[in-house]
């Protein structure tokens, strides 16, 4: 018996060693940092390998992207294609990325990232932040059609909230307490929704910005107060689980939550039968209450040290995503992403994505600011969480955020990078 097992084990090991050698074609390794699409990507990698005679493998890590990439580069075995966040392109691509300026897809998007005139980052999709609403739940109570544009101002929005409460929905909103949501997504809108974004950030660094009296800050915080005041988990705002909040939104127990179209992956698990959508954060500013904040999200770069065949295979894959019908179908239907390329006209599958696409098509997206310091979301997130839990008031929050900026080393070359970035 023992002998049998050892023979079987030895055979299994030999087979495992032989397996990679059996597949011919060049190795096309892909690093995926977007958990929602990993299953679809793994399936597609197998199909793509078969069709194009390459050996494509997909690897996902839930680790911080920078940490994972540090390990990969330390081991001297980089991926051919790496999917990272915009800020990672700025820090890694000049060293490790291949110049993709000559690719034909460059003209078909406004979201690619270039540094010093060279295109490095391929935008996987477009994502935007705003207020997610449950249309069905709202209409069930108000009895009239819900048109988000009617509630662009805070007064109108407050009126709707009151109406929902009168109609029996005691707590119409949910607030995600994660630091990346509060200070990675909501707070940055304070910086992003103005004419001179970099100028304001420079003032913050210099300590000359007066946040407490800033029109944008107060406008957005007044709306945040409405969300906070009507939060279903008001008394335990910091322990409410993201999944619960999204479930309640999906099932119509609450009507509004600040988030982004990526939240569909979670909401989709519950009650996808209702009607949902996204709208800009209601505010008094007439320009920004008609625009959502967003742009290219998740960027792919090709490593510049892998073999030429691998680089070519990488380029081919990116072209396939943009130009091939199957590639377009993969992005839009199998991954439920909003494409960043104008030639991809497929109907977006998920309702939140549809809203984002509508705003993107109408040129009503305010660009992401991609040069926030790496610790911004966690440090300012901690202040914002205190505000959410009523530990500090708005003036203290403003002071804390100002202090954070004052004591932070400016992100290098952010000023010149900002002028180069294509996310505007």
């Amino acid at each position: 018996m023992k002998k049998l097992i050892s023979v079987a084990l030895a055979a299994a090991m030999t087979a495992a060693m032989a397996a990679p050698a059996m597949a011919d074609g060049v190795d096309l390794t892909f690093f995926n940092s977007k958990m929602e699409i990993d299953d679809a990507l793994k399936e597609e990698a197998a199909a793509y390998s078969e069709e194009f005679g390459v050996n494509m493998t997909d690897d996902y890590s839930s680790d911080t992207i920078a940490a994972h990439m540090a390990t990969v580069y330390a081991s001297g075995n980089p991926y051919v294609l790496s999917m990272v966040d915009a800020k990672d392109i700025y820090s890694m691509a000049p060293d490790h990325g291949l110049d993709l300026s000559g690719e034909d897809w460059v003209d078909k998007t406004t979201q690619a990232i270039s540094i010093d005139g060279k295109v490095y980052g391929f935008p996987l999709c477009v994502e935007a932040r705003g207020l997610i609403y449950n249309k069905t739940a709202i209409e069930d109570i108000t009895g009239e059609e819900f048109k988000p544009e009617d509630y662009a101002t805070r007064e109108a929005f407050q009126g709707l909230i009151d109406k929902l409460k009168e109609g029996g929905m005691e707590t119409p909103t949910g607030v995600m307490n994660e630091d990346w949501s509060l200070a990675g997504h909501y707070l940055p809108e304070v910086y992003e929704t103005r004419d001179d974004v970099q100028g304001f950030v420079d003032q913050l660094y210099a300590g000359t910005a007066d946040l407490a009296n800033d029109e944008r800050f107060n406008d957005l915080m007044d709306t945040f107060d409405i969300l906070k005041e009507n939060n279903y988990a008001k008394d335990e705002a910091l322990t409410a689980a993201r999944e619960d909040t999204e479930m309640m939104l999906a099932e119509g127990d609450i009507a509004f939550m600040f988030g982004g179209n990526w939240d569909w992956a979670v909401m989709n698990e519950y009650d996808p039968e209702g009607e949902y959508g996204m709208m800009p954060v209601p505010q008094e500013n007439d320009t920004y209450n008609k625009m959502m904040v967003g742009g290219g999200s998740k960027y792919i770069f090709i490593d510049n040290t892998v073999s030429e065949e691998q680089q070519q295979a990488g380029k081919d894959f990116l072209n396939w995503l943009v130009n091939d019908e199957e590639g377009q179908d993969f992005l839009v239907n199998k991954c439920a992403l909003v494409p960043a390329f104008t030639n991809n006209t497929l109907e977006v599958a998920d309702p939140l994505g549809q809203s984002v696409k509508a705003y993107a098509d109408a040129n009503a997206l305010v660009g992401n600011y991609n040069y926030l310091p790496d610790d911004h979301y966690s440090k300012c997130g901690a202040f914002f969480q205190k505000y959410l839990a009523d530990e500090i008031d708005r003036a203290e929050l403003a002071a804390d955020v100002e202090n954070y900026w004052k004591n932070t080393t400016p992100v290098t070359s952010s000023a010149e990078a900002a002028t180069e970035g294509a996310t505007e």
Binding site: A67, S91, E236, L238, A382, Q385, K386, A389
Partner: protein, 287 residues
């Protein structure tokens, strides 16, 4: 053959310890030295260039108030957790060496939490603290939403995780004390508790030294439970030292500063650990 010759000795050493020395150098010594080198560079983890920056990382590490705050938290957490772990482990060991019915079952049962990985443990307890307890007892405070509560939760979970493990070491200590010594003490007029206190416990000193060393170093270096149970929340009030070092190095991409802080943490840990073992061993009695 001259057994005093250097070549002979080296040969013998290599035969017995060559591979392990090589491995030890490969996975401990060389990374340690490389890490030390990194503390003098401005590396961000992925860039090709590593410029030497002298001692500025150490200056930044020392000036980082969040680091000292996390270190202070770690000290408090470790002090409370170590005492509780050892007291409970000792009492459990005492209970399951009394010859009660089914004691092997209890030994196994108390040890099980230690077999569950820290990450999983954290998620299980997050569920317990956030959902199960408030559902079972209405009005039960949500510990994880409050800074003090989150620290208390961390301590509770650590005690639950390690008490069973330390219990096993104490059980071995109890078993190693010869019955004849107990009997001799009792013939000399000791009561049961006196013979435990004056005869068994002093003879178990090495168990105490081991358990204290293990629990102190583990508590100082805790990361997994911290990550999955509280994630440093609420508002960064439960970030312990190891997590701060990780964030500094990887999330904020200050590799050099993070590495320098890791080194400071290592030195503190080594001083505490070595002192404790030294003091403990000094008074050890052998039967």
């Amino acid at each position: 053959m001259n057994r005093n010759k250097m070549s002979y000795k080296t040969g013998q050493f290599l035969q017995f310890a060559g591979i392990s020395t090589l491995l030890f150098c490969g996975v401990v010594i060389i990374p340690f030295i490389y890490g030390l080198y990194l503390t003098f560079t401005d590396w961000d983890g992925v860039s090709v260039k590593k410029a030497l920056v002298g001692g500025s990382n150490y200056a930044a590490a020392l000036k980082d108030m969040d680091f000292w705050a996390s270190l202070g938290r770690t000290l408090i957490y470790s002090a409370i957790a170590v005492i509780l772990i050892n007291v409970i482990a000792f009492l459990l060991a005492y209970a399951v060496t009394r010859g009660m019915k089914g004691q092997n079952f209890f030994r196994a049962g108390f040890f099980v939490p230690n077999l569950i990985g820290g990450i999983v443990l954290g998620y299980i307890w997050q569920f317990v603290f956030n959902r199960a307890l408030p559902k079972l007892f209405t009005g039960f405070p949500k510990l994880l939403g409050d800074p003090k509560g989150a620290m208390a939760a961390l301590i509770i979970v650590s005690v639950w995780q390690y008490a069973g493990y330390m219990m096993l070491i104490y059980v071995a200590g109890f078993m190693s004390v010869s019955k004849s010594l107990m009997e001799a003490a009792q013939i000399d007029g000791c009561t049961q508790s006196q013979s435990t206190w004056y005869v068994v416990v002093p003879l178990m000193r090495s168990s105490f030294v081991q358990c204290l060393f293990l629990s102190i170093t583990r508590c100082f270096m805790v990361y997994d439970v911290n990550l999955s149970l509280t994630g440093g929340d609420p508002y960064g009030s439960s970030v312990l030292a190891a997590m701060h070092v990780y964030n500094q190095a990887f999330t904020y991409r200050n590799f050099g500063v993070g590495q320098a802080q890791a080194l400071i943490l290592f030195v503190i840990c080594a001083i505490v650990g070595v002192t404790q073992v030294y003091v403990g061993k000094k008074g050890e009695v052998s039967a």
